[in-house]
Symmetry: C2
Subunit: 331 residues, 2 copies
């Protein structure tokens, strides 16, 4: 389902990263960086993640001299069971709340819901936020890190950080131009250490539907950015687009999972992942490049493996989803 918006703009973004992301090539684009450890003065990793999410939302309000009552709606989601980081963040804000979950495509889903509220004039200002935390994800989805379990090179590394996006109905330099809501795809892959392969078909499907429904081709965009497919997933998507749709992804295509870290020198295997991975790359780095006018038309495609350890233990394959959102510099 593709929608064109006439009335939805990005007023500001705020980005916070952890130490691994601070050591990566995009560090200078983030608003706040934690350099020491992954606790951020909290007593648990889960609370540390909720802390980041609260901090990014407090900071985007303060930076823009806004109070809770100036915001109509707060939309948030994260990887924790029961999206607990978002829930525990939201109790500290006096703002109507909508909780969402599509794994690492959560930021895409949140932006589409937020854009719908703004476009329909039901809301004037909406904050969309997401977070992830490397150790929370390792603990919840994988093996205890103390085991030192070796990982295959197709594994990705969950990014730590939190990102807020302030949507508004008043004209700014960057608009949400259109979006395509994704469908859940499952190509039968059961390997939880190869999420790039799990997610590539969902990304391919939504890119194809977006192009078809907007009657555009890839050249329309200065850049097409998938969420967090990583090195191998990126190539799988290229193959998939060619074999399924005869569409060639060229130099204006890249993947956020391959951009957040120095892949040659950081221990991130196939690249970054987690809801905040694409959010940091897009709303830290790319957003600022758009403000400078270096990029004008972008299609972002956050991708999510909707991985349930319970279903995977029960021999089920892993479904995935991706959403496509077009961002444009307002001329």
């Amino acid at each position: 389902m593709t929608t064109k918006y006439n009335n939805v703009y990005i007023e500001d973004t705020y980005t916070i990263c952890g130490n691994y992301e601070n050591d990566g090539p995009l560090s200078k684009y983030f608003d706040k960086k934690y350099e020491k450890d992954l606790y951020f003065n909290e007593k648990s990793w889960e609370k540390a993640e909720a802390h980041l999410l609260k901090e990014t939302n407090k900071n985007i309000l303060n930076k823009n001299k806004l109070k809770d009552s100036d915001i109509d709606l707060l939309i948030s989601g994260d990887l924790q069971n029961q999206i607990a980081a978002s829930d525990y963040m939201a109790r500290d804000f006096d703002i109507p709340f909508i909780g969402v979950f599509e794994a690492c495509s959560t930021i895409g889903e949140g932006l589409i819901i937020g854009s719908t509220f703004v476009e329909s004039k039901i809301a004037k200002k909406v904050i969309v936020s997401t977070s992830s935390h490397n150790m929370v994800a390792e603990k919840q989805f994988r093996n205890p890190t103390e085991y030192g379990t070796p990982k295959p090179k197709t594994s990705t590394f969950t990014a730590t950080g939190a990102v807020s996006i302030l949507l508004t109905n008043k004209k700014t330099k960057i608009k949400i131009e259109s979006s395509t809501v994704g469908k859940v795809k499952d190509f039968g892959i059961t390997d939880a250490n190869h999420m790039g392969a799990v997610m590539a078909p969902a990304a391919g499907d939504v890119i194809y539907n977006h192009l078809k429904e907007t009657k555009r081709n890839l050249d329309y965009y200065d850049l097409i950015l998938t969420g967090d497919l990583g090195i191998y997933g990126k190539n799988i998507l290229k193959d998939y687009m060619m074999t399924s749709y005869n569409i060639e992804l060229k130099d204006n295509y890249n993947d956020c999972g391959t951009m957040l870290y120095d892949l040659d020198n950081q221990p991130v295997l196939a690249g970054g992942s987690g809801p905040v991975c694409s959010a940091l790359v897009i709303f830290g780095y790319i957003y600022k490049e758009m403000l400078k006018g270096k990029l004008k038309k972008i299609l972002i495609v956050p991708t999510g493996a909707i991985f349930s350890p319970t279903f995977t233990f029960q021999k089920e394959s892993i479904p995935s989803i991706a959403n496509a959102i077009s961002l444009e510099v307002v001329e």
Copy 2:
């Protein structure tokens, strides 16, 4: 945030229940009933829940002679970690998907998002669905049932079932008249066996805001129905409304958690809970009473305890949320 809708109607609903709900007083209002066990021919409880959700959505399509391509958007959420029942349901539909989570208030959240898409003319037909499964919830949130852990009488019993609601922009007998999005509230309660107390302040807050923002009083409604506060939570809400807002909840107030089961003769302690509890009562029983003209103006207030076992083990209190939606018979 309160919104009045001009353009959002309920075209149909479909309800499926399990054996405990079939033994309750509202059984005759449900479209399909499972009477034997809680597996529904699946090999695990988690798959059994996904099965129910898939079945209710297939059945509402078939009953209305609709194909996947006739539906613009499928919005779903449930209590499983990663809303896995909804994710594994959605992979079997070729419909753009939005995953939501607000625990037992998920159906309220889904209806508000769906109504926004329909009101804004972005979508014409939207399915909103939710489910819960007694044994999935026991396994995930509580103790293994084999332990036979005694429960306090303030505990509630997670309902088993699945419900679909088909929203449309074409006039039908029942409209979604308005809604108020709730805020996350936390009154410091840490007792996971007393969710009625956890959720009552969130219900009170959203009812108060709804009345204030619509300039209505309680008499406007034939019935005000909270989600699943149960016997004790219902009385706590009455006290809370009186002491906080000087508002007296009278005979036109009831709670779905006290209605789904025969509280004197079924082993459900303080009453029913789970996302499907209020969904079964409202979109099975109440919806059909509205179609008959016996009830005309209803305020539904699904309530959710956003309970994270991880945060509760870390000594945090339990936050909650509730949403208010006004349903009216079209004259």
